[in-house]
Symmetry: C2
């Protein structure tokens, strides 16, 4: 087992780097960044390190807001490489749901920690996560112990697949209790989200109660919508309307709703998403691998929709790599929409500022500005594949950077990755034992 | 300047790894690989290291054939990040051609070495390269000195852009002289290719002479075709036929022809490519970034066409990363062709066995088999983003691996990357001086 060793918050001085602020003006400045008590204290030139401060030398490096993946499944990381060559509904029913149903606390915790190790090493500091139906506490605990910023919760399913289906009342009771237990822990780093899986897994009474619980507690609602053509057809048959149109009709759309995918949309649904400020989480890697299709991202942006980015599940991608998703998002839509349809700066915003909104805390993270929480990634810029750097550093990062260029990751002022080494988790041991953990789980299938 | 330090060939024992042979059966075996005199001597279990052998411990690693990118432009690496947001014809005329015209020997050599550094660090051992019109020797010399396996040559342009256009006779005379000088150097590691840029840059007499020179000398012909809709329309207007159909009519198609892109094809052209065993080099990253479109790769494969893979130019991609291209190729076509349309093993073949054919030496490299040249990449498999490993290791590599997972690269028995450090080039200095080199070039614009 892997003992968590969450480091204390320190006074940190990130010195001499190029700061990709992602503030409202998206300014890029040569400056030092001082972190005190978990917050960004100052962004200015030539800061003197306070006594006892740890100095991180950032010469030749970019200091950027920690990346936010607004749709992942930590519970599925242990199923990486085990479910290739399938479309969504087969992938779920033949592989993922049986796997999820076979999780116990131990395997689920392992899966979550393995995923968090990958995420932190690759500069992702915050996630919106859908756990599985049972043992949700194991995922929340892994998030708490590892230091990552987390918004997520128990997956709700009260119809469909027998191995995961629950009684509606019981599911709602458990999710409310989990929310009361976990929401706000560690000074707000952990936030609870209501996570009905998708329309085909949930009854109408469940959706109505989710809406009420969200209103009552201010909790985010995180679900999937309109990912795959067969799913879209089945949803239409089930509820007599298009997926997002139906969400709108039952009063679910709005700023607290975070919808993964939104690949197949009617024109009216595109308008609804934009008008209601619902977050759409683009998951290009997963949409390709599951043969789902391409979300009309440039058109959604043009209509004013709020777009975020996510790696989705390891078994449908197969990595949780924000840099891979950014590069895909920035280039995938150009053949259909033209070479300037999705500026790199917009894509970087999807993975930072907009992700902060999906987490429910846009005033707290997502940019490097004094007063915000210190969620940061430091990126080596001097490797051959980066140079010469371009006039637009956002573009250089989006088109050239790899997760392996991240040298340091800081969440809430805690220095979690130092010189490419993870300190809050034992990445090597988690990786080494993953196959054995999966084998134990598979025996329970 | 960066002095080349090409290491000697050594006796190498790669011990305890998982060998992705990419032989005819595509077998994957736990075995040691012994390299003697630049060739693979044995692939077998528990080999005893010969006296004086260097042992490379490969426990937890994959030993795979060195990756081959069958379409790159080393001359353009210095223009990385300098030409975003444009489609092909604008990108060429507004940015790339003026840049290429401003190269001198020094900047061109720098560009080539910087690109080769990136390629070798990322496990690419062989390339088919199109140089620029002038100073071709600087690129060939960089290839010779760095140890990479190279098939390429002078870019031929006898119409169009004034800054690069040459007299037909003079261009042909120079390319023939270069071919005679360079083809076969270092025991065949360097091979010459005739590189007419594309139909719009070359007159019919030039194409006819290229065909003759190729027949006479056995040299590869490497060119671009049917990348962009506007280009395809212009070609049709210029020669009165579709691009590949016209190549077929003038007798250019066949095993010695290596065609980059082939995005926009008529049904008849797809048949021609398959029937003539012409190599089609799929460049998915560049095709997305230049908004060109998607080559119908699964259909071409089904028709029996010969597909290879390439990163193209740094300013249209922006990296020369075989792992990025493999993952793109493996997933990009699934929404249109279905989730099993392009098995990972086929994609890995495109970047290994099929690339060897594009290089003109399929009997020599592209797989790990006794008697073949030792072009190898060693890949760390124990990092969090890989695990648990799947039942199909080809898929695990194609969907999860990054260029930064390469620990060792061997070309022709020379150990060029050792523990992620490049020995034949000074990568840090090349990267550090790239901007200054570009600034010198830009002054000449």
């Amino acid at each position: 087992m892997t003992a968590a060793r969450l480091p204390k918050r320190e006074v940190l001085l990130l010195r001499g780097g190029t700061v990709i602020t992602m503030d409202r003006q998206r300014s890029v400045v040569r400056a030092d960044v001082l972190v005190v008590d978990g917050r960004i204290d100052k962004v200015a030139k030539s800061l003197r390190p306070p006594k006892g401060a740890r100095v991180i030398e950032c010469e030749g490096r970019a200091v950027m807001p920690g990346l936010i993946q607004s749709h992942v499944h930590l519970c599925q990381v242990l199923f990486r490489n085990q479910a290739d060559g399938l479309e969504l509904l087969d992938w779920l029913s033949q592989r993922i749901w049986p796997f999820e149903a076979a999780h116990d606390e131990r395997s689920l915790g392992h899966s979550a920690r393995l995923g968090i190790a990958e995420l932190l090493l690759g500069g992702t500091t915050g996630i919106v996560d859908m756990a599985t139906v049972r043992h949700t506490g194991a995922v929340m605990q892994a998030a708490l112990d590892s230091g990552i910023r987390y918004t997520g919760g128990k997956c709700l399913m009260d119809q469909g697949f027998e191995g995961l289906r629950e009684d509606t009342r019981a599911a709602l009771k458990e999710t409310e209790a989990l929310g009361k237990e976990w929401h706000g822990q560690d000074d707000g780093r952990i936030r609870y989200a209501l996570c009905p899986r998708f329309v085909l897994s949930c009854t109408k009474p469940l959706w109505n109660e989710v809406r009420s619980l969200s209103e009552k507690n201010g909790w985010t609602v995180h679900t999937h919508a309109s990912e795959n053509r067969a799913e879209v057809a089945a949803v239409r048959k089930a509820v007599g309307d298009d997926n997002i149109a139906w969400f709108h009709r039952i009063g679910l759309t709005g700023e607290r709703l975070v919808l993964a995918h939104c690949v197949h949309l009617s024109e009216r649904e595109e308008e609804i998403l934009s008008a209601t400020a619902t977050t759409v989480v683009h998951c290009p890697g997963a949409n390709l691998k599951l043969a789902s299709g391409l979300s009309p991202v440039p058109r959604l942006l043009q209509k004013g929709a709020h777009l975020a980015l996510g790696g989705d599940g390891a078994p449908c991608n197969n990595t949780l790599d924000a840099f891979h998703e950014m590069r895909l998002a920035a280039t995938l839509h150009l053949p259909a929409f033209g070479p300037r349809a999705l500026p790199a700066s917009e894509v970087l915003a999807m993975a930072t500022r907009n992700g902060a909104r999906a987490l429910g805390i846009e005033d707290q993270v997502g940019s490097i500005e004094a007063g915000k929480r210190a969620d940061l990634a430091v990126l080596e810029l001097t490797r051959p594949h980066f140079v010469p750097l371009g006039p637009d550093l956002h573009a250089t990062i989006v088109y050239c950077a790899k997760s392996s260029d991240v040298t340091d990751t800081i969440v809430d002022g805690r220095h979690l990755v130092r010189g490419q080494k993870l300190v809050s988790l034992d990445a090597a041991s988690l990786a080494e034992n993953a196959s054995a953990e999966l084998a134990r789980l598979t025996k329970r299938l």
